[in-house]
């Protein structure tokens, strides 16, 4: 029998009560929600039976529309209709404003860290808008499954960095979803095909969506998927096949290609839809006949064979294969080493795409699962495991740290504690010691990244451990532990071994950056800018002080006879003061000590000057000097 946990009085679960969990594919173009029902992963339809929710949000003063309704608004109210919002997740205003084509949104100029867009309901961030896409998916799932969700697995592109992942988590939290885990999209697709049951292998995930193309190379080791290379084209997708076909239609229409520019938005949409319908018809048939009506007349009618369409599609497919070749090169493997090729995205239904990709990798591609659903289904399977609906031996750990985590050590170098691609959860510890005699505190600076020097990595957090007993340098033993739980939350703790003094920090949430953190980081960059200025001033003052010391030392050595018994001790005291100030951190004190030494040395210096002058003048008459000066 299964193991039981003690419940609160009256709350023992009915047997077979499942903890409801879903997988969500939060896509650039469309989003889906899926769940495991009776052991099978299924996508959940909305009230009218649609599975795909267009990732479009229209914000009006009195309501927020999501999906098809919002999409329909994009022509009328582009400024407040947010499509492809995923591209903005975790990005700064600078990144967003450089995007091409330019976005039709109005950005809040006062918020450079987190771009916020103008809406009739106030400024909204990409996180808030993404939350609006997640909300109806959550409602849909709870209605279909008949209960409250314990959590969700949300998929993200493999190339998403921590800021983008954190933005996705924040969006889920705003939508009232507990994120069980973020899962890489290609990993989700591989899971849907059950590829995790193999012991090892190399897998390529070819994801040709509506507007983007991604290729990911995964390595499977002991049930853990590691993304070893990604590539793609953010400006290439299934829509480009429609555009190519639309252009082809216009060339042959009675209106001619030139008319293409003159079409209204509505006519453009009709043209695209006709092209899309032809493309879809050619998926199942070798030939299709259609006609194009524009402005009340039939401007084209005819038949198109699959071969003709293939000729149009080939240049586009060629571009995806170039990206595949690059990803393989990055991964350092040959196409023939790939064991499975998973096809994701609606455009991979095009037979020519399957043909060319199969030929490229030299094997049949996996197409049994609906390429629109495969990512959501894989996420649902993972959610089911994480919600505790499967026993531990079926449990698969999938998450790895995307970047190394470490500590700053002397000289601004990074000591890596948890290397990248370590599977989660994980805990690693290392011992550190003090640098100076009598040091009673250690400052810990947690950084993320692959570079050797701190300034090239991302700063995650700082904290300090105080109360270390004064000892000679190197005698204290401070054990620093990095721990990341299955949710990606990093806890760093430091403990001094003799006294047991303990200090810790949680980098929250996850080891990534929340939006506030991004802002904080920007602010801290300013703070450090002033630190840097101080440090520079201090260094300069020290150099100046050292120079004064050297000067006075050499003067005292060469003209010791000019020193009176009165000013010798004063001078030595002032010299000692400066020597001490240079060792300290106080720039002002160094300046003052320099000035003090100069004042103290003034009589001595004057005597030296007089002596030098009289030496120069000795043996010359006043007339001689006057003649020299007139020259």
């Amino acid at each position: 029998m299964s193991l039981m946990q003690i419940s609160e009085p009256g709350q023992t679960l009915a047997p077979h009560a499942r903890r409801l969990a879903v997988g969500i594919d939060l896509g650039t173009t469309n989003s889906l929600v899926a769940s495991v029902i009776n052991g099978v992963a299924e996508c959940l339809p909305d009230v009218v039976g649609a599975l795909l929710l267009p990732s479009a949000v229209h914000i009006a003063a009195d309501k927020i529309e999501v999906g098809e309704d919002a999409k329909a608004r994009s022509a009328l109210d582009p400024e407040h209709t947010f499509i492809s919002i995923k591209r903005l997740m975790g990005r700064g205003l600078d990144d967003v404003q450089q995007m091409k084509p330019a976005l039709p949104y109005r950005f809040d100029p006062h918020e450079p860290a987190v771009p916020r867009m103008h809406t009739p309901q106030g400024w909204m961030s990409a996180v808030e808008i993404s939350a609006e896409i997640l909300k109806p998916l959550k409602v849909r799932a709870e209605e279909r499954l008949g209960g409250e969700l314990v959590g969700a697995v949300i998929t993200v592109p493999a190339y998403f960095d921590d800021a983008q992942r954190q933005a996705t988590r924040d969006a889920a939290r705003l939508a009232g979803l507990h994120v069980l885990r973020l899962l890489n999209e290609p990993t989700a697709a591989a899971l849907a095909y059950g590829l995790d049951t193999h012991a090892t292998g190399l897998i390529a995930v070819y994801d040709l969506g509506g507007g983007t193309f991604d290729i990911s190379i995964l390595r499977l080791r002991q049930g853990v998927f590691e993304v070893i290379a990604t590539g793609g084209d953010t400006q290439l997708g299934g829509d480009d096949f429609d555009h190519a076909l639309a252009l082809w239609l216009m060339e042959r229409s009675s209106l001619g290609t030139a008319a293409n520019e003159m079409l209204s938005a509505g006519e453009q949409r009709h043209l695209s839809r006709t092209a899309c319908a032809i493309k879809e018809a050619l998926t199942g048939n070798e030939q299709t006949c259609a006609r194009l009506d524009l402005r009340g007349e039939t401007v084209w009618s005819g038949c198109l064979t699959r071969n003709e369409f293939n000729t149009l599609a080939d240049p586009l497919i060629e571009r995806t294969l170039t990206a595949c070749a690059q990803a393989l090169k990055d991964a350092g493997i040959a196409a023939s080493e790939i064991q499975d090729v998973v096809m994701v995205g609606g455009a991979t239904r095009v037979p020519r795409v399957r043909e060319r990709v199969s030929a490229f990798f030299g094997r049949e591609v996996l197409t049994d699962i609906d390429p629109d659903k495969v990512v959501a289904l894989g996420a649902a399977l993972q959610a089911d495991v994480l919600a505790g609906n499967k026993s531990a031996d079926e449990m698969v750990l999938l998450d790895v740290t995307p970047l190394s985590l470490g500590l700053e050590t002397m000289g601004g170098l990074v000591e890596t504690i948890i290397p990248r691609n370590t599977t989660l959860p994980v805990a690693r510890a290392q011992e550190f010691t003090t640098f100076k005699d009598g040091q009673t505190a250690i400052s810990l600076h947690i950084v993320q990244g692959e570079r050797d020097s701190v300034e090239h990595n991302r700063s995650l957090a700082r904290f300090s451990l105080r109360g270390i007993p004064a000892m000679v340098a190197g005698a204290a033993r401070v054990r620093v532990t990095f721990q990341i739980d299955a949710d990606g939350l990093l806890t760093v703790s430091a403990q001094e071994k003799i006294t047991g003094t303990h200090s810790e920090i949680q980098v929250k949430p996850s080891y990534g950056l929340s939006e506030e953190n991004v802002e904080q980081m920007l602010r801290s960059a300013f703070d450090h800018a002033s630190d840097d200025v101080h440090a520079r001033r201090l260094r300069e003052a020290r150099v100046e002080g050292a120079r004064s010391l050297e000067a006075i030392d050499s003067a005292m050595a060469s003209d010791a006879a000019l020193l009176t018994e009165i000013d010798r001790p004063i001078l030595l005291a002032a010299r000692a003061l400066l020597d001490q100030a240079i060792q300290g951190e106080d720039t002002q004190a160094i300046h003052e000590a320099v000035e003090h030494l100069e004042n103290a040395a003034l009589p001595f210096i004057q005597r030296r000057m007089n002596q030098a002058v009289s030496r120069a003048l000795a043996g010359h008459s006043v007339d001689e000097m006057a003649a020299q000066m007139q020259r």
């Binding site: 029998m1 193991l3 039981m4 003690i6 419940s7 609160e8 023992t12 009915a14 047997p15």
Partner: protein, 107 residues
């Protein structure tokens, strides 16, 4: 007649009771549900009811009602680790047939 805890199970329950900060013992019982007739109840007991039957194992009180005792008499609760999961398991001599997962049973 008795329902017992193994020593490990008793330590586990005591630990959880103290962490919870209240409770007089562990309530076990059965309820009618599930695919195979009956299922177990395993809860903290905050009070004893007049009809309760109280046993004690290693200092931990195990409480049940007459219906529970009927189905659970002779049972021992053990602490078991299965993979990553740690939990309590009923070793119930009265069970004639259980569903595949053991969450419900018939006597």
């Amino acid at each position: 007649m008795s329902i017992t805890l193994s020593e490990k199970a008793a330590n586990y329950v005591r630990d959880y009771l103290s962490r919870r900060g209240k409770g007089v013992g562990l309530r076990v019982g059965v309820k009618t549900s599930g695919c195979s007739g009956l299922s177990y109840v395993l809860e903290y007991a905050d009070e004893f009811k007049p009809e309760d039957i109280i046993f004690e194992s290693f200092g931990v009180k195990v409480v049940t009602d007459p219906k529970g005792l009927l189905h659970l008499d002779g049972s021992e609760l053990d602490l078991v680790r299965e993979g990553l999961n740690l939990g309590l398991k009923f070793n119930n001599p009265n069970v004639k047939d259980a569903c595949g997962c053991g969450e419900s049973f018939t006597v």
